[in-house]
């Protein structure tokens, strides 16, 4: 098993951010198993918002998800037990292995990137696809270290127009135009570049 050759990297300091975690901190699998166990025990109570009163034939709509969550609870418990046993014996191996990165992994940069992607998704229906995409392309290029003014102007503008043409013009997808003043801007833009 691949775990064997991981043991030497295990000795490296694994908590410090920025150096790249080659092995998952020892407690993570146990915590994950515990959280899954808790979730699968609690979730069945939140299955239905409205329940039809009259009797339903067959197994009913709750049977399948109930069975899946029961199985999930059982195997999470098993995993948790195995983890606790491994911790008690202070075995050096972890059941989860982080990807082996040859390069350094910058957690701050990754979290910032996730933030940008979420912001993009959140802005999409508000300011419309065209504006959000142009902005996102610009910001992401900056974030990724592109500084050339030509790149920073051409990539967002040509990219956005090309995407608009491809998906709203050709494929006729109803991508968001935004709300209020942004909608009027999107409609104008779409008319301007000839899609509407």
């Amino acid at each position: 098993m691949a775990m064997v050759d991981k043991t030497q990297t295990d000795l490296a300091p694994s908590g410090a951010a920025g150096t790249g975690l080659s092995t998952v901190p020892r407690l993570v699998p146990a915590m994950l198993a515990g959280m899954l166990l808790l979730a699968s025990v609690l979730l069945p109570a939140f299955m239905f918002e409205t329940v039809r009163e009259q009797p339903m034939p067959g197994l009913g709509p709750g049977a399948w998800p109930g069975a899946i969550l029961f199985a999930l609870a059982a195997f999470s418990a098993l995993w948790l037990l195995l983890e606790i046993r491994a911790l008690a014996r202070s075995e050096r191996t972890s059941s989860l292995e982080a990807p082996a990165e040859e390069e350094t992994y910058r957690y701050g940069k990754a979290l910032g990137g996730i933030g940008l992607v979420i912001a993009f998704g959140w802005l999409l229906p508000v300011i419309g696809f065209a504006l959000a995409t142009g902005l996102f392309l610009l910001v992401w290029c900056l974030y990724g270290g592109q500084r050339h003014p030509l790149v920073l102007t051409l990539v967002p503008t040509i990219g956005t127009v090309a995407l608009l043409w491809m998906f709203m013009g050709l494929a006729l997808m109803p991508l968001s135009r935004g709300v209020g003043v942004f909608e009027r801007f999107s409609v104008w833009l779409l008319t301007f570049i000839g899609i509407y």
Binding site: M56, P57, P174
Partner: protein
């Protein structure tokens, strides 16, 4: 492009955008000026999708703009209705609203009500039938019902689900002594394949959705749930003739908009739909799906939806 050119473009863009931001929303008399989105509330390939696509194509000529179709499937059609409800009520979003979705409200799905929509027109309507495979041991409705009466619950009926109008029909039949087992098939293709392959005894469906199997002689209609016999199947008796007065649970398909859409725009759309329905292409289409009707519009259409909703809700809660 040099930075100065970009700046020029930016200036021009700013001027233009200042113009559009001050401009008021286009008035109803200019409607329509840009493409109208046709929201089909089911995925590509189903009856609602074919109807929406035909309608969109045929309305284009009279409205003078294109009507791109977007399939917004999910939650028995309710996901698409959410889009219809949340987009601006400016007539640039029209959608399909079909009986299956209205019935789903009665079983607690979605948060839509009949009042949330303005029905432009009911364009298709078809009663449901019971079908059997060509080699079925029950070649008449009498034989089928007789067997069901003497062996309650032994015959299986492929339907679209529990809590739908299919279910209501079977419940009403059971009350009349004809008790058959409801077998829901979510995927339409499997629903039709199962009786043809001999795995399920009976199929409950509207004829338009199984037209190819009827033409090929693989399925045979036994009984229609309607006030009178279907003109395309004059030999098929109604349930009422056999002592089960079940009707009003027809499969209808409508074109609807947001309830707050201005009356002039509704009028323009109504004319476009009427024009489309009168076209020979539409007549061919509805004839091949056994669903031609005189379009129902205005308050009559609105009442039709509300009544249907009430009927299903009453039956499900009885």
């Amino acid at each position: 492009m040099t930075p100065t050119v970009v700046l020029e473009y930016a200036k021009a863009g700013f001027a233009a955008s200042a113009m559009i931001f001050s401009a008021s929303i286009a008035a109803a008399q200019d409607y329509p000026q840009r493409p109208i989105e046709m929201v089909v509330t089911f995925g590509p390939g189903g009856g609602a999708d074919l109807m929406g696509r035909q309608m969109a194509r045929l309305m284009e000529s009279s409205l003078g703009v294109s009507l791109p179709v977007s399939n917004v499937a999910g939650a028995s059609g309710n996901a698409g209705l959410t889009r219809l409800r949340t987009n601006p009520a400016d007539g640039y979003t029209v959608g399909t609203l079909i009986s299956l979705t209205v019935a789903s409200w009665a079983s607690g799905l979605g948060d839509s009500k009949p009042e949330d929509f303005r029905i432009i027109s009911v364009v298709q309507n078809s009663p449901s039938f019971l079908f059997v495979a060509a080699n079925s041991p029950y070649q008449t409705a009498e034989a089928l019902f007789e067997h069901a009466q003497s062996n309650p619950g032994q015959l299986t009926v492929a339907t679209s689900g529990y809590g739908t109008q299919d279910d209501v029909t079977l419940k009403l039949l059971a009350k009349g002594g004809v008790q058959m087992e409801n077998v829901p098939f979510q995927a339409p293709g499997e629903r039709y394949a199962s009786p043809i392959g001999g795995h399920t005894a009976v199929l409950y469906e509207e004829p338009g959705d199984v037209a190819q199997f009827l033409e090929a002689g693989q399925l045979k209609p036994l009984v229609v749930f309607s006030q009178e016999r279907h003109p395309a199947f004059p030999d098929v008796p109604t349930a009422a003739e056999l002592g089960h007065d079940i009707s009003g649970l027809d499969n209808f398909r409508t074109i609807a908009v947001h309830a707050d859409t201005p009356a002039e725009i509704v009028g323009i759309l109504e004319d476009a739909v009427s024009g489309a329905v009168a076209s020979p292409e539409w007549q061919d289409f509805c004839a091949s799906t056994y669903s031609c009707i005189e379009p129902v519009t205005g308050d009559a259409a609105q009442t039709m939806i509300t009544d249907f909703f009430q009927l299903v809700a009453d039956q499900l809660n009885s």
